[in-house]
C-alpha cells in the first residue's frame, strides 16, 4: 500500500469499473475484468447486465467466481442458457455492448495473446488459449482491456494473435470485414489509455494519482505516446474502495472455506 491509501491494483479495478454504464450488456472475462464489472454493478451501475460465457445472463454474484462457471453465477442470474446459444444468439447476434478482456501479452494496437509464449508448435510456455476471446473481440460492440503493466506483458510484437484488436492499426479491422469498434479502452495499474482516432495506437489519456510518465514507460515494451492533455485519474472514493475490499474479502473467505471443515 502506498501512502495514497490504495494500491495500484485497486486503482486499476476501480478505474475500469467506472468505464461501465448502467445500461451496458457486458461479456465478462475472468480475473481482473470480473472484479471491475462487479464493482460497477455494486456502485454506479446496479442494472448492468453481466454475462459470463458459461451461459449466465444478468448475473449478480455476491462473491467473485473462481471460474466462469461457478454455481454462484447461475444462482444469481436472470437466466442461464446453453453455451452454443450463448455464443450464437447473444454474442454473435450482436447483443453484447462491451467485451471485457484481460491479456497475457498485449501490443499497442490492442491485439491480445493468451495462447503461447514463443513459437506455436514449440512453445516456451503453453498458455490456456483463447476460450471465448477471439469472438468476444470481434462480435462485442466494443472491447475494454485491463491488465497490470509489465515489460513481459506489454510488448512491441505479440507471439500469437489470439484476439484481433486493431491489427497493424488504421482501418485494419474494416479491411478484414469486422464491423465492430474493437478495443476502445485500456486500463492498467498506472494509466488509462485510448486508441488514437487515426492510427489506433493506444495513447495515455490519464495517469493514476502519483504515477509519472517515466513509470508508465518503464513498464511498457513500446515507446509510449501521451495525449496532448493528460489528465489525472480521480482517486478511488471511499465507497468504491470499501465496495472492492468487501467483495474481495467475501471472495477470499468463500474460496478458502470450500471443502474445509466449518
Amino acid at each position: 500500500m502506498s501512502d495514497l491509501g490504495f494500491t495500484p491494483n485497486e486503482m486499476m479495478t476501480i478505474a475500469a469499473s467506472r468505464a461501465l454504464k448502467n445500461d451496458d450488456v457486458c461479456f465478462v472475462g475472468i480475473g481482473a475484468p470480473s472484479a471491475a464489472c462487479n464493482v460497477a454493478r455494486l456502485t454506479h451501475a446496479p442494472d448492468i447486465t453481466l454475462i459470463y460465457e458459461s451461459g449466465t445472463i444478468g448475473t449478480a454474484p455476491d462473491v467473485l467466481p473462481l471460474s466462469i462457471g461457478d454455481g454462484e453465477l447461475c444462482d444469481t442470474a436472470l437466466t442461464t442458457v446453453a453455451v452454443p446459444e450463448m455464443f450464437r444468439y447473444w454474442l454473435q447476434g450482436g447483443r453484447v455492448t462491451i467485451g471485457f478482456l484481460g491479456a497475457a501479452q498485449l501490443d499497442k494496437f490492442g491485439n491480445i495473446n493468451t495462447t503461447v509464449i514463443g513459437d506455436y508448435d514449440h512453445p516456451k510456455t503453453r498458455l490456456p488459449g483463447g476460450g471465448g476471446a477471439p469472438e468476444i473481440a470481434s462480435s462485442s460492440g466494443e472491447v475494454y482491456i485491463t491488465m497490470k503493466q509489465s515489460l513481459r506483458g506489454m510488448v512491441e510484437k505479440i507471439d500469437f494473435f489470439t484476439s484481433f484488436g486493431h491489427g497493424k492499426g488504421g482501418d485494419d479491422r474494416k479491411k478484414l470485414g469486422i464491423a465492430t469498434k474493437g478495443p476502445t479502452l485500456l486500463i492498467t495499474d498506472l494509466a488509462i489509455w485510448k486508441p488514437d482516432p487515426e492510427s489506433k495506437e493506444f495513447t495515455v489519456v490519464s495517469l493514476h494519482p502519483g504515477v509519472s510518465r517515466e513509470e508508465v514507460q518503464k513498464t511498457c515494451g513500446w515507446p509510449v505516446k501521451f495525449a496532448a492533455t493528460v489528465e489525472e485519474t480521480p482517486a478511488p472514493t471511499e465507497l468504491e474502495l470499501k465496495t472492492l475490499r468487501d467483495l474481495q474479502a467475501r471472495t477470499k473467505a468463500a474460496h478458502e472455506g470450500a471443502g474445509k471443515d466449518e
Partner: protein, 285 residues
C-alpha cells in the same frame, strides 16, 4: 435405450482404445468419476475433445492415455495453467500429444452441428485470429445470399460422450439443471453416450415443462455415482471444491507428486470414494 450399469461396466462396454471421446462439462457437472474409471482401465491412444479441458484432462494426459487433444481453453480455471499438459506439449512427457485448437464459439458450433447431423458448422468468427493460420481444420465459406465470408469447422462427432447429471428416472431419462454447458449437444452428437448421475428418482412428473431432459433412447448407459463430478460441482447437490483446484496446481507441478497422487486417489480408488469427497460440500449447495 439406456442401460443401468455399474460405472466400470459402462466404461468397459463403451470406451475403446483409439476412440474419439468427450468428457464434457463446463466448470459444472464435469464427469470426473467416469474419467477416473477410464484411467483405471488404462485406455490408450484416445483423441480427447472438450471445450475447457481442466484438471481431469491434465490427469489423463499425464497418465499417457492421450494421442490428440481438441479444445478451446486448457487451464485450471481461476488458478492457472495445466502443468501436465504443459509438460507434454513443451517437453514430451510422458508423450507429446497432438493439439487441435479452436475458440469456444467454434467448438460450441461444432458440437451443435454434430447434434444436428451436419458435416460442418458455419459461424462469424476467427476474424484476424491466429488460430486460423495454425489449424488446418479452420476454413471459410462464402454466404450464397450476402457474399459474407464466414468461418467453417468440421462437426464434432465423438465415438462416445461422457457427461454427469443430477438425476435419471426409472426409465433412464436424464435431467440436467443449472449451467448446462454443451452437454446436450455432446450427447446428441456422439455415437454412444454414458451418463453418471447423482441419484435415480421414480419419474420427472414434477419438473418444469422446459427442463433440459435427455430422453432415455438417446443414452447408451447410466451409472449412479453420487459425487461423481467432484471436485467440479452438481447444482443442487454439492458445491465446487475450489480448494481442490488450488491444491491441484501443487500436485501437478512435479512428475513424482503427480504419479503418487494418481496412484492413491485414482488407480487404487473406486467410484464409491466420490460420495465421501463431497460430504463436506453438500450442506452449502
Amino acid at each position: 435405450m439406456a442401460k443401468f450399469q455399474p460405472l466400470a461396466e459402462a466404461v468397459a462396454d463403451n470406451l475403446k482404445d483409439g476412440d474419439t471421446v468427450a468428457f464434457e462439462g463446463f466448470t459444472h457437472l464435469i464427469p470426473h468419476a467416469a474419467a477416473h474409471e477410464a484411467i483405471r482401465q488404462k485406455r490408450k491412444d484416445l483423441t480427447l475433445i472438450r471445450m475447457t479441458p481442466d484438471i481431469v484432462y491434465d490427469q489423463m494426459i499425464g497418465m499417457g492415455m492421450v494421442k490428440r487433444l481438441i479444445f478451446s481453453y486448457a487451464g485450471n480455471p481461476g488458478v492457472g495453467l495445466l502443468r501436465r499438459l504443459r509438460d507434454s506439449v513443451e517437453n514430451g512427457w510422458p508423450n507429446r500429444i497432438e493439439i487441435e485448437e479452436h475458440s469456444h464459439a467454434a467448438m460450441a458450433n461444432a458440437y451443435e452441428a454434430g447434434a444436428a447431423g451436419l458435416p460442418c458448422a458455419v459461424f462469424r468468427g476467427y476474424l484476424g485470429a491466429g488460430l486460423a493460420t495454425v489449424n488446418p481444420n479452420i476454413k471459410s465459406v462464402t454466404c450464397p445470399f450476402t457474399g459474407e465470408k464466414l468461418a467453417a469447422v468440421p462437426a464434432i462427432r465423438p465415438d462416445v460422450s461422457f457427461i454427469h447429471a443430477q438425476k435419471a428416472d426409472r426409465q433412464g431419462n436424464v435431467l440436467i439443471e443449472g449451467i448446462v454447458g454443451v452437454q446436450k449437444e455432446a450427447v446428441l452428437a456422439a455415437r454412444r453416450a454414458v451418463v453418471t448421475v447423482e441419484e435415480v428418482v421414480e419419474n420427472f412428473d414434477d419438473v418444469h415443462p422446459n427442463a433440459c431432459i435427455l430422453p432415455h433412447w438417446t443414452i447408451t448407459a447410466i451409472a449412479v455415482v453420487p459425487g461423481g463430478a467432484h471436485p467440479s460441482y452438481t447444482h443442487g447437490y454439492y458445491e465446487r471444491d475450489n480448494a481442490a483446484y488450488l491444491e491441484w496446481d501443487r500436485i501437478a507441478a512435479g512428475r513424482e507428486a503427480f504419479e503418487a497422487w494418481m496412484k492413491e486417489n485414482v488407480l487404487e480408488s473406486s467410484p464409491e470414494a466420490f460420495a465421501d469427497r463431497v460430504a463436506k460440500l453438500r450442506s452449502k449447495a
